[in-house]
Amino acid sequence: MIALVIRDLKLAMRSGGGFGHALAFFFAVALLVPLAVGSDSAILVSVASGMIWVAALLASLLSLDRLFSIDFEDGSLEAIAVSPLPLEIAVCSKICAHWIATGLPLAAAAPVVGLLLHLPGEGYFWAVASLLVGTPALSALGAFGASLTAGMKRGGLLLSVLVVPMSIPTLVFGAKSIALAVAGASNTTAFLLLAATTLTAVAIAPFAAARALADSLR
């Protein structure tokens, strides 16, 4: 399992922009929002927590398209299906690798993005924490979506259409975790619900995705 995570990370680094892609997109949104809505601090503060999460969600969608489709096309998936590695474990590895390559850098970059969006001081900790806890759900749900479109030549659009609705709870609770903290209210409920969406997604997605992949190989 670890071998597959390492291989995927190696490929992400070598294929150019594996790590940087999501991060660059995240920063681009953070730079564009103040230009678009104006640099009025009051307006930025009111949208900052939401924008961080919208940007993170869209950034993590970017690389999902290739999560399984490359392995599908070059025969790796077929070879894994006949190997001692169960597809469920392979999907777990893929989710891990995707999270390390996108979710983790996004969480690490959240303070910089917060700065650009005039996020008040109380929000920084929760921006990082909510992204750390919430992005595994985005990777897991994304893996499920990617498994359904693995065998398609141009599955990118369908993938987004599938994954975005599934990610809504994560987005809502993630953004609320930051917004409530910024407003000085208790965000415990929102944060726990965010953790719950992650646990649910991570528990179910590998099995659902493995089943979809096995079917697409038939």
């Binding site: 670890i2 071998a3 597959l4 291989r7 190696k10 490929l11 070598r14 294929s15 096309e73 070059d74 025969g75 790796s76 077929e78 070879a79 894994i80 299906a81 006949v82 190997s83 001692p84 590695l85 190989l217 038939r218």
Partner: protein
Amino acid sequence: MQLRANSVSCRRGERTLFGDVGFALGGGDCLIVRGPNGSGKTTLLRTLAGISRPSTGNIFVDRDEVVFIGHSNAIKDQMTARENLEFWASVFGTADADDALKSFNLWEARNIRAICLSAGQKQRLSLSRIGISRRKIWILDEPTASLDADGSAAILSRIRSHCRNGGIAVVATHHEFEMPESKKLDLSRFQPSLRSGVRSAPESPQS
């Protein structure tokens, strides 16, 4: 150890590729699968490997002993030949990537990224998975594709010695295989008759 197919038929969409294919292989047997393009060779091999399911019939095989090398080579272009094999070695829980590189004549090319390998070298790299897997039932789809005469002879002698040591091999090929001791399966003889009773013409160009 055995590989048994019991009146297996496979469909692709609406079309039945072949019907009522049956055979039984034991240790030491080699089965050469032939047939024109579109007769279902790849489908049969994928079905035997457990990737696809037969529409009807049964396949009896120990899945933990099967290794399948298909058309697609499962090679990552951004990694070197050695890194590619080391990955598969850890998937199969074996540690002899270097031995496999040597025995498939890839030692010189071990540190070259796969994107720079020739088609023949890639094919040998793909085939070296059979060495790494240490499994006993080899299912090979066109193993000699893009190989030169020496490469083809080498893989042929490998299959022969594998069978001599009690392994099973199923090989789909267009090329003449000098294996007098092997069993033959011509898939064109298993194509379903059309309604008029005439045998369906081989379709092309899909395999």
